[in-house]
């Protein structure tokens, strides 16, 4: 009984302490997240934080590269603000004596690094980027934008709202793993009939393939002699070599603005519990 009372008291105090004020997770950036604020935060970041986190948060010799692909533990604006404003006790992250406004500007920039490309206010000529997409870069042969284009690759109508700018740049310039549902595959059935296409799904027992005529085929693997899935992407990843820097920037600017839906975005969760 006594143990129960103590448990209750602890639980009660926990509830009361949580109820006393908004947690850092609930605090929102009072300055908003408009592009000019992100730009101001960017400039301030590169004056204040680069010694440890690197230019644009991209190096991180002495502290995490905030712009890199990593698992973040401070997700909410409030939690990032707390670290920027007060430092992180027990680590090399100091209290820099920033004003609240300065800290919030930096928060808006850090959030933009992790946010989708749409939020990154990418510089470049969107119209020229579209012309490159449809012409020189040949993207439209495989990718669709708002109902126009090929189907071999992912529909990019919402790509700006689905991936970060860093990821978008990497896709164009680095040999990344093939996204799920777009790996080339060739199957041979028991009659020796061969079919090549894209594996939309694949497990030990069945495989679903989109062929070159835009027709879907579904197979029970018991009926197949072989199924060979390629790990070589059909996507060229050398646009930093085949396009000029300005052309690549224009293409990035155009793609970053493609946003019909945000449903697919792996949104950063404001709730850090359970991590």
């Amino acid at each position: 009984m006594r143990r129960n009372l103590i448990s209750f008291a602890l639980l009660f105090s926990a509830v009361v302490s949580r109820a006393q004020g908004p947690s850092t997770q609930q605090v929102k950036n009072p300055l908003g997240n408009a592009p000019p604020l992100i730009q101001a935060g960017h400039e301030l970041f590169n004056k204040t934080c680069t010694g440890c986190h690197g230019i644009d948060g991209g190096e991180g010799g002495r502290a995490p590269a905030l712009g890199g692909n990593r698992r973040y533990f401070r997700l909410s604006e409030g939690a990032i603000f707390d670290a920027v404003k007060h430092g992180i006790p027990g680590t090399g992250m100091p209290n820099l004596g920033l004003s609240d406004d300065e800290a919030w500007r930096i928060v808006s920039y850090i959030r933009s690094l992790r946010g989708v490309a749409l939020d990154a206010a990418v510089q470049g000529d969107v119209e020229k980027g579209m012309a490159i997409f449809q012409g020189k870069a040949g993207c439209v042969k495989c990718h669709m934008l708002r109902g126009e284009g090929g189907t071999i690759g992912p529909d990019l109508s919402s790509v700006g709202a689905q991936v970060t700018l860093a990821h978008l740049r990497e896709e164009l310039t680095t040999d990344l793993p093939i996204p799920s549902g777009f790996a080339p595959v060739t199957v041979v059935d028991k009659n020796g009939q061969r079919l090549s296409g894209i594996a939309k799904n694949n497990d030990a027992f069945s495989i679903q393939i989109l062929d070159e005529h835009n027709k879907l085929h579904t197979y029970d693997k018991k009926t197949l002699r072989s199924a060979v899935v390629s790990q070589k992407s059909l996507m060229p990843h050398n646009y930093d070599k085949t396009l000029s820097p300005q052309e690549l920037q224009d293409l990035l600017a155009m793609l970053s603005r493609q946003a019909k839906t945000k449903v697919h975005v792996a949104l950063e969760r404001e709730n850090e519990e359970g991590r």
Binding site: D155, N202, K232, L234, K262
Partner: protein
Amino acid sequence: MRGLTLLLTMGLTAPLCAQVIGKQLQEQPGANWLHYNGSYDSRRATTLDQVNTQTVSNLTPAWVFHVPGAGNLQCVPIVVDGVMYVTQPNAVYALDAASGRSIWEFHHTGPTADRGANRGVAVYGDKVFFSTPDAVLIALSAATGNELWEKKLAEPEEGYWSPAAPLIVKGKVIVGVAPGDRGLNGFLDAYDAETGKRLWRWDSIPKPGVAGNETWAGDSWKHAGGNTWLTQSYDPELNLLYWGIGNPSPDFNGDMRPGDNLFTESVVALNPDDGTIRWHFQFTPHDVMDWDAVELPVLVDASFQGKPRKLMLHADRNGFYYVLDRTNGEFLHGSPFVQHLNWASGLTPEGRPIRVPGVTPSLLGTKVCPSSIGATNWMSPTFNQQTGLFYVVALEGCGTASISTETFRPGGFQYRATGDVLLRDASWKVYVRALDMATGKVVWENERVGSIGLGGGLLSAGGLVFSGELNGQFIAYDAKTGKTMWHFNTGQSINSQPMSYAVEGKQYIGLSTGADIFSFGLFEPQKPLDLRTVPVAKAGKP
């Protein structure tokens, strides 16, 4: 090099495969299930018979697909050549119909809260069509899920949404809207399936100068309801589109809209070429109980009173079962299919209800049977040509209905002028009833024990009637006798309509439950897999 060849051929080749042609849409369902209701006549009767009264004891789940985040699925799976399309609000999923594995999914950004269900897709050519909680009609590539075009049907800010699976008629996408409980006037639209261009709109509430407007006193037609929220029927031979229309607004206070209130609570026959109306039949003139007449018009050619006729069978939410001549809307028969019916003493020779004075919603409350839920609702009936029976989910129950005065507010607010308290006493019961098609007499019935709501609809297959219950039971009855032949506890509320399809000669029964898509097939013992013959995915150069 092979990869490059593939890249070039796939990238440069326009879609070649028209998966569904108009002729297929006119066929009775077999391996494919191409319409929400299975066929244009909405009989929901498969021609497949592998699953039948002799074999159903071996029916077992073949696979389950969990729809992420779903809790109240109401879609009817559509199957084309081994690919199944299912939905939840704002999302479409393409599945391998034999294995249940996902092929693609599509998501639309839009509101979901308080915007009802999505009841599935329509298919035509190489496209899949569905509509959304923000009243947008979207065309997708059936092969990839890529969005091809979208059209706004109505202003979602006004409160409109679009839950029904579209119906394809002669290359047009026929699509309606909901709700009718917020003073929003309904309409039915037709869009060119290829381009998305709107071809016609039929207003279910006639505007001034249009026949039927005189059935609305004063300006009451302006906020009048009459929505088009369930996929209905089509007769290719007569070239008539039959659509059941929803309730008038405000739902319960008829004093605010004197008159018959056309075309609410009616079935209308439209010319699908131009959207003009040919005839109508109103089941509940001047309805005051929210008895939407969207229950399916089931089209049957049969001898009626010794004469071959083109019939329409319809069990209405108001408690009466109707037989109409679908060439002209002539009333042929009407009789109650529930015992708890106190608002009308019968029907006139023309089919108009003979109202019992005083049995209408009142300030102090009046007991009205059926309740506003209705004697049945959107859960599909089915018709079996062999038994000649019409099967319907029936609710015996009453409500205490009251009225208020209410002012219409723009913005999608409820505009009901009160409602009814459901009297869920011992008499409140749900049944599956088999009605004699010509007389409406109950031939057999089975209670949905433990179900306090209507639940899912029905399917005719192999001399069986499949029935999904709100309490999660999925049941097969002998269509002749009503004897329970098979049951399976899905563990989730069933609020949708079963369907059937086949892949590689194997028949399946498909069903969406609360959060999952189930597919059932006859039991086949699994054999140990021989690793020498099971292909293993290997890395290789394209």
